[in-house]
Amino acid sequence: MGVPRYWREIPQRYNLIGTKCEACGQVYFPPRSMCPECRRASVGNMEEYQLKGSGVVESYTVIYAPPPHFEHEEPYVIALIKMDEDTYLTGQIVDVSPDEVSIGMHVESCFRRIYQDGKAGAIHYGYKFKPVG
C-alpha cells in the first residue's frame, strides 16, 4: 500500500476515530462524510467521534489461507464486531486460541502490527481486538 494511503487513515487505524451525525446522533466507523439516514441534513453536520474500542463478536471465522503479507500469522481469527456505539466493523481477534472465540464474546481494541510491505517497506500498524478480562 502506498504510504499516503496508509498515513491518511492513521487516526482511524490507531485511534478508532469515526464520525457522529449531529442530526440523529448515530456514530459511524469507518467515518462517513454523510449520514445515510439523515442525508442532506447531515451534510456539514458530521463531527469526529472516537470509539471506546469495546464491542461484541457478531460472527467470526478462522483464516487458514492467508493473503500476501499475512502468511506469518496463519491461522488467525477475523470477526465482524458490533461496537458499543452500535456500528459494525471487521477486524482480527488476537491473544486467544481460535477455538475459544465465540459469538457474543466481549472484546476490546489493541494496537498491533497489521502487516509490513516486506523487510524494506513501511510497517502498517492498526487496531485488532482481544478478549476483555
Binding site: 487513515e9 460472527s59 489461507a65 477475523i78
Partner: protein, 388 residues
C-alpha cells in the same frame, strides 16, 4: 420499453486454459455466440463486455476496445463498453445491453464476459479477488473473500442451525451436475466426506466449499423481440433484468444472514415479469461458496429464510428435484471466471429453455432465473428468462 430476446450464445470451456490468453477467450466466446445467433457482423450495433480485474490479472484495461479488435469489428465503429461489478460483471453487462435494446437505441447487441485468472500465482489471484471487498476496512486487516462468506456461514449456522453437512451437500449436488456439463472445469463427483475432509480455507468453509480460480469467457446476442425471428426460431425472452447495489462492506449491511441486494432485486424482477418464485422451473445461482447457494434459495423466495439448509437436505434443488438449481454445476464445479460467470448462467438457462441442455435437461423448463452477486453482496443482478 421494448421486449428483448436472447437469440444466441456461446461459451468457451472453463478451466485452467494455459494456452489461451484473455484476448483468445474473448474472441472464442464472441465468435461462438455470433455464429449461434446466425447474425452478420454488420448487424451488431453495440458491444458490452463484463470483466472484473483484467488490469491486475493480465495488466490489460480498455476491454471494450480489445473486444472490438479481437472480434474483427473494430472497423464497424460501434460502441463498446466495459462493465464492472466484481463477480456480477457479466450480468451487469447484460443488464446494460438489455437497457440499450429495450430503450430502442439499438436492435442487436452482443454481450460478453471474460476473465483470465491463471496467469498469476494463486495467492495473487486471491489478493486480486479481495478488491471485490472493502480494501481499506476489510482486506487491510487480513479478511479474505472466503473469510467474508465464512462470517456469513457461521452467522447462518448460529442463527438457523444450518450444518456443515448441508453446506457440503451443495457442493456434492453441483459436482454431480458438473459431470454432465462438457464445459465444466471439474467433472468428477465429490462426497460429503470429501468436502468436510478437504483443507480448511476459512472456518467453516473447506476447500471444496469454495469455487475455483478459472479461465473462461461467454457471450450472448440479444435483439429486440420484433426482430428476433429474423435470426432464430428459438428466441428466449428476457422477462426481467434487475440490479441492486448495496454496501461493499459486509459490516455495513442491514443483515448478515442473506444478501439484501438479492432479496430486493429478485422481488423487483418477479414483479416486472409478473411471476412468483413458485413459477420458476430452473435457476442458476451464485454459489461462489456453498453457503451462498443456501442463502440464495432463501433470498430468492424459493424457501423461507433459514430453511435453505434443510431444503438442500430434502433434495429440493437436485437435478430431479422440484426446483433444480445450478444444473450447469454452478460456480463450484463449472468454474468461476469472474467476469464470465453471469453470462455463463444466462447461457445455461438459454440451453434449458430451448431444450438443448442434453443430459442436464429439466423437463418442460419454461421459466428460469439467474442470480449473480458481486463481492460479499455489494451488487446483485437478477434475470428472469422465458421460453417463447
Amino acid at each position: 420499453m421494448r421486449d428483448v430476446a436472447l437469440i444466441g450464445g456461446g461459451l468457451t470451456p472453463f478451466g485452467e486454459l494455459w494456452e489461451k490468453s484473455l484476448a483468445d477467450l474473448v474472441a472464442e466466446a464472441g465468435i461462438a455466440a455470433i455464429m449461434d445467433a446466425g447474425i452478420e457482423g454488420e448487424d451488431i450495433e453495440a458491444l458490452y463486455i463484463g470483466g472484473m480485474s483484467a488490469g491486475r490479472f493480465v495488466g490489460q484495461e480498455h476491454l471494450g476496445s480489445l473486444a472490438a479488435e479481437v472480434s474483427g469489428l473494430s472497423e464497424l465503429h460501434i460502441p463498446a463498453t466495459r462493465v464492472e461489478a466484481a463477480c456480477a460483471s457479466g450480468s451487469l453487462a447484460l443488464h446494460n445491453g438489455y437497457l440499450a435494446v429495450a430503450s430502442g437505441m439499438y436492435d442487436v447487441v452482443v454481450v460478453g464476459g471474460a476473465e483470465k485468472m491463471t496467469d498469476v500465482a494463486g495467492t495473487e489471484a486471491t489478493n486480486i479477488l479481495a478488491s471485490a471487498a472493502n480494501r481499506e476496512w476489510e482486506a487491510f486487516f487480513g479478511a479474505t473473500f472466503p473469510g467474508l462468506y465464512a462470517l456469513m456461514a457461521r452467522y447462518h449456522m448460529h442463527k438457523y442451525g444450518t450444518t456443515r453437512e448441508q453446506l457440503a451437500e451443495v457442493a456434492v449436488k453441483n459436482h454431480y451436475n458438473g459431470t454432465l456439463n462438457p464445459k465444466a472445469q471439474y467433472r468428477r463427483e465429490v462426497s460429503v466426506e470429501d468436502v468436510l475432509g478437504s483443507t480448511m480455507v476459512a472456518d467453516p468453509l473447506h476447500l471444496l466449499d469454495c469455487s475455483p480460480i478459472t479461465d473462461g469467457a461467454g457471450a450472448v446476442v440479444i435483439s429486440s423481440m420484433d426482430r428476433a425471428e429474423e435470426f432464430t426460431d428459438e428466441p428466449v425472452r428476457i422477462a426481467a433484468s434487475e440490479t441492486v447495489a448495496d454496501s461493499i462492506s459486509l459490516s455495513e449491511r442491514s443483515r448478515f444472514d442473506g444478501i439484501p441486494a438479492a432479496m430486493t432485486a429478485s422481488r423487483r424482477a418477479y414483479n416486472r415479469a409478473g411471476v412468483s418464485p413458485a413459477d420458476i422451473d430452473v435457476a442458476e445461482v451464485h454459489d461462489c461458496f456453498t453457503i451462498a447457494e443456501i442463502m440464495a434459495i432463501e433470498d430468492l423466495g424459493f424457501v423461507d429464510k433459514g430453511k435453505g439448509g434443510s431444503a438442500v437436505d430434502d433434495g429440493l434443488t437436485t437435478l430431479d428435484g422440484e426446483l433444480p438449481v445450478n444444473t450447469s454445476g454452478g460456480l463450484k464445479s463449472k468454474g468461476h471466471p469472474v467476469g464470465a460467470t453471469g453470462i455463463a448462467q444466462i447461457h445455461e438457462l438459454m440451453l434449458q429453455l430451448r431444450g438443448q441442455a442434453d443430459r442436464r435437461q429439466v423437463d418442460d423448463a419454461a421459466l428460469g432465473l439467474t442470480h449473480n452477486v458481486g463481492g460479499s453482496g455489494g451488487t446483485a443482478v437478477i434475470h428472469i428468462l422465458e421460453a417463447i
